[in-house]
Structures are given as structure tokens and as C-alpha cells.
Symmetry: D2
């Protein structure tokens, strides 16, 4: 006997740019919105009966229409607004997941209407709503950082396949992919200045990366996560995925040259990958937040 398991459907990567004009001073929000709905969807899978299905095209239209009607402030608010709309307006939809990426722009000189893409990282959020509770996870990805010193790696397990020498000084580099879960009141009401908290969390991770004398990337990961928790009272859990972008010291001895931490080869693959969560002991159950 075969049954339908967990499922969801939606419109991925709706690329919407919202312009706001205050006289000559324009503002832009540049988003990539993905919506996913679930609910009474057994019949559409079994027989193709679409009577419970709000088309993904309508979801895209809703994203665009809401961008006009409500404007776009913090992406977390926009994601929650959309998630609530789908569940509250459609009897067959019991759960909505809305994920948004935001791309940063800054002003091009003194012009009020000219902009330049800035920064290399992408701001992200995922909101869930199930009709009674909401969950919000904020984050960023591709924040690339590098320390030229204050990183060691030694004292590790040596098995028969270990050839790596211990080191007391190495380059440590990674592309930070981080997400942080907001505690909220569990019922979908949020009293959070999302943009301010984003800056605080981002800055906390940068400061922890710079300020941690690292004996392992795991230690740095934990320092970054706990710093976010220390500085963001409304956050209950941080998840980090840190690729260890190896910078290998180039052997220049065949050319009669010393290489005292001066010339490195930035390797592509393979790379170390360190993943971990740091959370408050009393963090509420995550529910579907991370899905």
C-alpha cells in the first residue's frame, strides 16, 4: 500500500524589484521570493483534481500585487504577510512557507535615482505559518571572510590515513552561511526591528570571526553563533555552515625561496565543511522553522 508523504508546491524565485519614490529620492528593494503551500493536496496527487490547488502563477501574482499594495519593508515582514495571506484566504491551504532573498544596493554618488549593487552576501529569511503559529528564520549567505593569522590546528586524532602536519599559524577563510531563529511569542506576533537585528547579527559574526583566536573552525563557528545569541535577545538558535576554504602555503623551496606565510594557493575542492547549531537551553521547539 503506497501513500503520499509530506509535500508542498509553489512558485520559486519570483524576482521582484520594488521602487519607492519620495520626490527625487528613490528607494529600491530587490527580492527573490519563493512561496510553497501545503494542505488538502492528496487528491491532486492521486487523480490530478486541482480543486484545492491555488496555481503557482497566482502565488507569483500575489507577490507582485502585495509589493505594490503593502510596499516592502523588512523581508521578514513581507514573508509573514504573504504566508498569512495564503493560509488565511485559502481553505485548502493549511501551511505556507515563504523564503526571500534580498540583494543589497547602495546609492551611486549623490544621485537620488542611481544605484550600485553592493556587498557580496545575500540576506535571507524563511517564514512559516500554519494558521495559528508562525516561525521566522533570518540569515545571510556568502559573507566571505579571511584571517591571515591567529589560527592554529593541532592536537587532532592521527590515524593511519593522517598525513596533515600540525600548524601553529595558518590562514583561515570561509564563506559564512548563517541562519538565526527568532523566539517570537509562538503565535505569529513579532515585535522585532528586523533590519536592525540583521545588522547586529551580521556584525556579531564578523566581530567574532576577527576576534577569536582559533584552534579549529568549529571553535570559531561556536564563537560566532554564541555572539549572535549574546547580542540578539530575540534570537534563540543560530545555525552555521562554514566551508573551510583552504589556503595552502605554496612550497617555494625548489626555487630557493622561503615562504613565511606569504604566498598561498586558494584551493577550490575539496574543502572542509563545518556545520553546527548554537542555541539557548530554553529555546522553544523549532517546529517547521528549519524546513
Amino acid at each position: 500500500m503506497v501513500i503520499l508523504g509530506p509535500n508542498r508546491y509553489g512558485k520559486a524565485e519570483t524576482r521582484v524589484v520594488r521602487v519607492t519614490r519620495h520626490g527625487d529620492a528613490h528607494h529600491i528593494k530587490d527580492l527573490n521570493v519563493s512561496t510553497a503551500l501545503s494542505g488538502d493536496m492528496t487528491e491532486v496527487h492521486l487523480s490530478g483534481d486541482n480543486s484545492a490547488v491555488l496555481p503557482t502563477d497566482s502565488q507569483k501574482n500575489t507577490v507582485n500585487a502585495f509589493a505594490k499594495r503593502h510596499g516592502v519593508g523588512a523581508i521578514e515582514d513581507f514573508a509573514l504577510l504573504l504566508a498569512r495571506h495564503f493560509v488565511d484566504s485559502q481553505p485548502t491551504v493549511h501551511h505556507a512557507r515563504v523564503a526571500i532573498e534580498e540583494y543589497a544596493w547602495e546609492r551611486n554618488g549623490a544621485s537620488g535615482h542611481s544605484f550600485v549593487r553592493s556587498g557580496r552576501e545575500t540576506r535571507t529569511c524563511v517564514a512559516h505559518y500554519d494558521g495559528s503559529h508562525a516561525w521566522v528564520v533570518s540569515g545571510l549567505r556568502d559573507l566571505v571572510v579571511l584571517n591571515t593569522t591567529d589560527s592554529e590546528f593541532w592536537g587532532f586524532v592521527k590515524d593511519e590515513y593522517t598525513t596533515l602536519p600540525e600548524t601553529r599559524d595558518r590562514v583561515l577563510a570561509t564563506a559564512v552561511n548563517a541562519s538565526w531563529r527568532h523566539t517570537g511569542d509562538g503565535a505569529g506576533e513579532w515585535d522585532c526591528e528586523w533590519d536592525k537585528e540583521y545588522d547586529t547579527a551580521r556584525q556579531a559574526m564578523l566581530a567574532a570571526f576577527a576576534g577569536t583566536y582559533s584552534l579549529s573552525l568549529q571553535q570559531t563557528l561556536y564563537a560566532m553563533g554564541s555572539r549572535v545569541l549574546a547580542e540578539c535577545p530575540g534570537v534563540c538558535e543560530v545555525r552555521l555552515s562554514l566551508p573551510n576554504r583552504h589556503h595552502f602555503l605554496v612550497d617555494l623551496s625548489p626555487f630557493g625561496l622561503a615562504n613565511d606565510g606569504e604566498v598561498f594557493f586558494a584551493a577550490d575542492r575539496p574543502y572542509g565543511l563545518i556545520e553546527g547549531a548554537v542555541l539557548r537551553e530554553d529555546a522553544p521547539d523549532a517546529g517547521p522553522a528549519w524546513e
Copy 2:
């Protein structure tokens, strides 16, 4: 009080090519192997004490050494071999996850030593081992398929943001990303001809895609998943992620031309995304299989 949550670390994307030579007839296996370990890793996060840490470099070395020592047959067997090795040989490692991608090659003409990359999809597997149990998920991604007819979409919910017209004939195209979980005996012993089952599962999905008169991509997804279950007795669950690669009929009426399903615009973004699981009612608990 801040605590460490779930974590793992390892070497991602070790690109190993294994050549076997039987006289003039050579064989190649082209793999991308990612290992991830977890266990007694609290201290390394808190203080940078690496005494429980098998370096990711050693993991890479193990992949290479095992490719030589044991050869590489089905990727599922190689993944299990590695996963068991890490857990069984390292007291501090309690759980291993090994993910492998395999790239297909075929012979270049009659030559025994010349090969051409073939196919567009990538074969995948993920094996977990925790010291007593093992889990194996096989899969593929980027198997791109398209039907020029036998696809309709109508009878869906119309809300105030719905503008999509109903259609009785459309192009249906997707890039199949599928994974299937093997039942096994729960204890890490597997009696499965992995390669043969891969071919069966792949063919089942292709046949279901071609043979399903589709009223929705969800229906096609369910047909593909249940077909795999019908033809692969050792599989208990199939998960599919199907991007709906929209092919929009181009409006040629401004040029005095009809377009009776002849000229389509293959759009990039946004795209529908249909995700779902199909499983046996008596499927065993998945444990960490999908992580």
C-alpha cells in the same frame, strides 16, 4: 545559557577518479565524495581542543586510499564502507554520513582506454551509519524531461490574484531530482544490486513521465514515485523535487501567425516547484536517512 546543538564536520567534494585496467580494457569511476562525522565534538566547539577530531584531510586521504584498496563498485557500497570505517575505527566518531555523486562516462568508440562523458543527470547516494544501524538513500538529479502534449491544467482555485487561463494542452517539462530510500534490514546489511536497481528506478520514472496523461505536475510526481515503489521492492520511500520548467506559448498573433503549440519560450525564472514524498504505508522510520 547557550548550548551546542546538532553538528557535523567533514571533507566535501573529494573528486576521485578510479581507473581499473583489465589488459587493454580500462574502466573508470568518476566520483565526488563528501564525508561528515559527528560524535564527541563538544570540546572542540567550546575550547578548540581537537583531541576528538579526525582531520578532514585524513577523511580525504581515506577516500583515496579506500578507492585503491577496495576498488569502487556501486557508490552505495563505497559510501557504506567509508561510513562504517569512520565510526568503527574512531572512538570519538559516533555517526558518519557519506554522500557520493557519480558522473557517467561511456566508451569513445571501440577504444579500450578512451571515454566520453555521457548523460546529463548525476547519480547520487547518501549513506548513514551510527555504529549499529545504516541507512541508504539513492538518487539522481538533473534528469531533464519534456512532454509536448498529454498535459492539461484546469479546475484549479481562482482567487482575486488568479489570471492564468485554463489549458487543455501544454508542454510539461522538468528536471527530475529524485531520491529513494532503501528498506534494508535496519542493521546495515544490504542485499541489493545497487546498479541494477538504479537502472530500474530511473527507467520507472522515465516511463511514468512519458506514460502519465497529466492533469497536474503533482499527479505526475505521484505517478513517478509510485512507479519506482512498484518496480523496486527494496525501496520504501521516494522523494521528488520537480521544478516546473515553464514553456510559454509565444503570442504570434501580432504577426498574423497562429501558434498551435509550435513555438514556445523556455523561461528561466520564476518556476513552479513541486516537492513530495511517496512511500509504503509500512515503511520503517526514516531515522537520519534524509539528513
Copy 3:
């Protein structure tokens, strides 16, 4: 005094899929078409006067309309048709360049309407037309090939920065990027079975790669190019760009293991890059063919 130099403008990457239906047997052509026009375009650059500019949107419409009106056979014919149209119909357009990529599909089983993307390489062509002459270059990219033996590299220059050991047996792998220029009659009339010639050229390169005992990738490049010329009388020049995808023998000696050409690391970067042209001594002037 500042002047305008060479320039062109057009619509890049129009993704058009053309379906042809013969009863239940359907056929598809999946193209990516880029058009670029030049001519009386000084004023638009200097003052923004668009009176000589056929919009890129109109170029896209033309691609779609022509796909319907004329059908799509060999991409070379479709490119020539478009190039001629733009020059012949627009007094301000004196030169057109049309580049097309074609993605291959094969039938999904016995179904007349279901297809699977096949092959890994992309077929390409570029056609130029200037009102009196036409030029056509055909090609392919990303045809990935590998020889497990019959490749040596020794006898090279050793300078003070040379550490590479000589080798009498290595893996040789590359992603073939090739283009071949057709002689034509210079006036835009072509008597070529493009599809048949494509198969011949592709097969010639594969055979030359497999059949050449290689002392350097340059030698293999020349063998591939000259084989195309030998088997394609209508081709006067072949240009190849061959990345040397290094497969490094992994040192397994620390683990007490020999590695007699069995385990390789497939490196990403850096890579060798060998580029060269092979042509008939009497090849006509290339004109703008390679631009």
C-alpha cells in the same frame, strides 16, 4: 577628439523551443538564439536618436515568428535566414551576426511526445551576413573526453621554475570547445548538409582523440583539427580551445599503497589551456567570421 569604434547591439539568449507534430510523432528543436546588428549607429550613440535602431525586442519577435513561419532545420540555415532578413529588410542595418546554441534531446522510450535531454555537449553556430557575403562557423562545446593511457609528457624546457617530473603515462582529459569555418562560395550560398557534417566533424574529433598516441595536448589538438579538415571537404579552418583537465596521481605511499595509475585527483584550477587553429593553406580570408 573622441570617436565611436566598432559596435553592435542585439538580443541575446532568446530561448525558443520549436515543436513539430506529425500525427503522434512530435519533434523538438531547443535553441538559444543571439542576434547582433550593426550599421548606421553613430547617431544613437552620440545623441540617443533611435531612428536607425530596430529594437532588440523586435529581433526577439523575429526569431519567434521565423521559427513558426519557416520552421527550424539545421541551426546554420536558421541563423543565415535571420541574418539575411535583418540586413535585407532594414536599410540602416549593414551587418548581422546570429549565434545559435542547440541542446540535444532524444526520445523517451517509444513515446512520440516524450523526450529526455541527451548528451553533454552543446552544438553551436555563428553566421554573419553583410549584404553581399555570408560566413558560417559551426561548432560544439563541452564535449568532455578522457584517455586513461597513451599520453606522455617529457622532453620539455626546464627552467629554474620547473619542478614537473617527466611522465611516460598519464591521464589526458579535456572539454572540447571547437569551431569550424565553412568555405562556402563567399557570396552566401551554401551547399552543405549541416547536420551530417556536424556528425562527421564531431566523430572526427572523437576518433582523433582516441586514436592519437599523445606526447602533448598540442599534438592532440592538431590531430583533431586536421582530422576534421580531412573528413569535411567544405571546412577550411578549425579552431580548438582545450582545457587540460589535470588528473593528478594521488600519492598513496604514506599508507603503504602503490598507485599504478589507479587513483587520481580531478583538479579544478589551475588548468592548462591549449588553443590553436588548423587550416587549409588555401583557406579564404576569414573576414568577420570569428568575431
Copy 4:
């Protein structure tokens, strides 16, 4: 009779990171270096005789050794240094082309050893040297800019395939890919503050993009190129490739909403592509500079 045409070979994408330490204040240069040599290379193509071939591996070693020995200042100087070295030290090498990409980093807070990748664009240069003359082209790519107003498009040619309405206000966005050729003295001596000139050229293009009331992207291109020439006396030619990243106004009328330049769809493909050169009337012959 088949002959060998133009050819070159080298090591592409050597990823070298150079660290300089002045006490606690460290500096990093993050480069991607590609070298390509040509000269007496007929024999290696015809017979595989490598006696004229400096291995690509030695070229990579040279890049690394020179990064140590000479340090890395402006990428143009490093490229020239390498190009001269290969030609001057190897009798069989008559021409060298060295292309470098540089990735920008800024300090992570007040730390002297912690850095964050900054900016989205990549700085580039290409240097050629043939034993007596040198050529240098500097540039950047992926500088993404957008104007929310001051862009029109009307008065264009309307043919039978034109459906685009004229517009008096649109969003104009592009990813600037620009290269500028330096006049030099033709003999390989350069008296240029490369880094300062880079900032000037970049700023000139940004200012021209912001300050040009645009009637066509061609007009903006010309304004950007001529502004660089106006502000950089040592530059004789600018080449720009500007994809027109279409931002389409979303039709919200089905939802009873106006859309007065507020909600846009950022499309991927197809896109306009505007390419052009702006140069001084007395610019010296480009020679191989653009190859």
C-alpha cells in the same frame, strides 16, 4: 595542404593570495592569474616534440615565485613583469599574454589581520609582450548599476515584428563589463599609477551612468566610454559590453492596482546586449592588445 594557424598555450586561473605583514597590519592581494605563451610551437603540434615548450606547470610556479620575490602591487605591473620574464628568458617564446583578475577585500573592523570580501565587481587586466613592445588593457566586470528614472526609449524603427511600445520612463540596469587600453610609449615602458587610474575610470563610468539622461543604452555606453577618456589621459580606447537587464513593469491592472513605476519583474533571459568601443581619433594601433 593543412597548416597550423595562430596558437597559444598556458596555465589558466592560478589562484594566488599574497599576504604582506607590516607588524600587526597585514595586507592581502587575491589574484587569479592566467598566462599564455606562443612562439616556436609548430613542432609540438606536428610531432609532439616538446623541446620548445615551457610547461604550464612551470608557468604556475613562476607566478607563485614572483609573488614572493617581487611582491604584488598593481596587477598591471605584475602582469607585465610576468609577460616580460617569459619572453626574455625563453628563446622559443616570442609572445606572452598575462591576464589577471583581482578580488577586492576590505578590513574586518579594526583588526589588522581579518578581512571581508567587498564589492561585487572584479578588476581585470591583460598584458601582452612580444620582446620589443608591450600592451596593457585594464578593466572591470560585473559592476551592476540601475537607474530608476531618466531613461526613455522611443523613436525607433518599427517593422512588421515590432510590438514594443515606446516609453518615456523606464528602469535602466546593466552589469558593466569594461576594458580600457593604455597608450603607453609603445615600447613597454609605462608611467602610470594603475591603481589611481582604476579608481578614476571606475568612478567616471559610475558618474556617467548616473548623470546621463538616457534615450538609449547605446547613448549611455558612449557617455561612459568618453567620460573615461576625458578623465584618464593615458587611456586611448574603451570597450564596453553592457547587457540590458530588463526590468519589466508588472501589469497589476487585473487586481485593480495601478503600477506607476513601482513594481518590476527583473528578467533573466533574453536580454539586450550593447557592445561598443569609444576611442581617441589618434589612438595608436591596437596590435594584439585585445586578443
